[in-house]
């Protein structure tokens, strides 16, 4: 097995060049032509071995896919289409070259769906494997989706099921659980964790629905840190509240005969990493969007002038079910 220290940085770079467009590599920086009337959108993620990915649950291909999908999801959440990504890699010298090639393979598999290139990067020695991806995209100014513009009365749409990725992770960590699941169900949940899809496909639906209504009256973000977190962040940024109908929150069908209602709801609200979009828009147009998407998209609640996010159970407000960020993911406190 060839390790990185056997071939050095130059040797590794040469092996990885096949994942990058030849016209872009080999200079101090990459040059890209952008659409002149669009804005530039930029997002970045840092991932560390043992914290964000692990060989126990995630192959290098899947780690590459997931990291890429997370960044593309941030672009989708702004309404932006991707232009390219850069990749910063810190690698121990005794890591195998094939691990790194597999990581790049996973990244490019995710990117190729959107014809998006890896346009640059940096590879350095590090005691621990770490990966930093910066994605950039473009968006017409009147199509930007912000967190801060949710309006009282807006319907809240989620573009798909929640809790699947977290369930998949649990199944990977402890294969003994999930005896009540079929192999097909297990594999689907595990795939939701390993190969999440950024919802860039939602954007053309929005552009079509709002072709004559610009700027688009849509606010939102992605649910990468959990559905509860997304709704809370939107409400905080917009100075509004929300009510969610618990029964409306879409979850994988497998949850029905595997988890209690309470567990299923916890996975869906706080599991995270489903990378769906959480969008707030006028109710009639929300219905149009849900019909247009036709793949698990649902209206889960509405924006209120309240200062809380409350969870209703069959239209009854349960006093202790006010959502808080504290059940969400805090990276340093764990």
């Amino acid at each position: 097995m060839t390790n990185i220290k056997d071939i050095g940085e130059q040797g590794l770079l040469e092996r990885l060049q096949r994942f990058c467009p030849p016209e872009i590599i080999g200079d101090d920086a990459a040059v890209l032509v952008t659409e002149p009337t669009q804005c530039l959108v930029v997002t970045t993620d840092m991932l560390v071995d043992g914290v964000h990915f692990s060989d126990i649950t995630t192959s290098p291909e899947d780690a590459g896919w997931r990291a890429t999908a997370a960044n593309l999801s941030d672009l989708a959440a702004m309404g932006a289409t991707p232009l390219g990504i850069t990749v910063g890699l810190g690698l121990p010298g005794d890591l195998s070259v094939s691990w790194v090639e597999s990581l790049y393979q996973g990244m490019t598999e995710c990117l190729q769906q959107y014809h998006t290139p890896i346009v640059g990067g940096d590879i350095v020695r590090s005691p621990i494997t770490s990966l930093s991806i910066t994605a950039f995209g473009q968006v017409y100014p009147n199509r930007i989706i912000r967190r801060s513009t949710a309006q009282v009365g807006d319907a809240i749409v989620v573009t798909g099921v929640h809790g699947a990725s977290h369930a998949g992770l649990q199944l990977l960590l402890d294969p003994k659980i999930g005896k009540d699941l079929t192999t097909e169900e297990k594999n689907a949940l595990i795939k939701a964790h390993q190969r999440p899809q950024p919802r860039l496909d939602v954007l053309p639906h929005l552009w079509k629905i709002f072709a004559s209504q610009l700027p688009i009256p849509v606010s939102g973000m992605d649910s990468s840190d959990g559905l509860a977190d997304a709704v809370l962040q939107i409400c905080r940024a917009s100075g509004v509240g929300a009510v969610l109908e618990s029964a409306q929150i879409p979850r994988p069908k497998a949850f029905d005969h595997w988890l209690t209602e309470e567990q299923a709801l916890k996975y869906a609200l706080y599991g995270g990493e489903d990378f769906e979009l959480v969008l707030c828009l006028p109710p009639d147009l929300a219905n149009t969007l849900v019909q247009s998407l036709d793949q698990g998209a649902v209206i889960i609640g509405s924006i209120t002038s309240d200062s809380n996010v409350s969870l209703l159970h069959q239209n009854v407000k349960i006093p202790d079910q006010v959502l808080t960020l504290s059940q969400g993911f805090q990276h340093f406190s764990q």
Copy 2:
């Protein structure tokens, strides 16, 4: 002393927000308005504690400055002016909050010289401190400076002295050396290491000289990995050779009474991290540029149809002084 784990990711993010423009933070990604007729230029660097910086030689302010300067230097080397940077940070929980604030202080001090904002980032838990910066800039298509377009007969200009940064690092690592230097000389060399200046100031000179000659007939890169590396990379990318006159390679004056000629030349050619520009352009215009810059800029040689880069000593070619990449910096082989 407050550590990161005491205030968590959210607490740290709140403390760092003062370093970022308020209109940009708080969404999934940053939105930037670019000049419609310019191209986007992107570059990224990854830095790891103990490999690229260390508390022994580099304060967090200086680590922040240096990392930022390196990225801005890559933009300058493409002819691009900066738009913004993103910052990915992997941090151990027991690192002090003030360390991170000092890092950001150093980054913003460097950026403020060019009115360039930090537009986004990601902060995650990591066993080892690591820093990934991605810088964005823009350039008119006919002003792009590439490595691959050097022409036989071009003069090779360096925009300033070489070897200072490496000398500064040596002085920091071993304060006992450099007894023959004055305090002022020592401080200047150390500052060259801790606070290198990206040569973005060179670009307006080029634009003025080549106002009527577009696309600009200039190729080049920065000397971040050493002057020898820069000349060799340009020659390899352009399919040309070069001759350099060793006496013309500008070094700090302090070297004259501190190092042997051989040592001084080694520092200047292979030291690295001086972040000057190495530019190839027609000889008459190279003279105009050198006069226009008037701060240590010198013609050090010329581009040939040879396949080697040779070093001349008072116009005599020394057979064993053919420059090679192998004396340059290889990140994994050390």
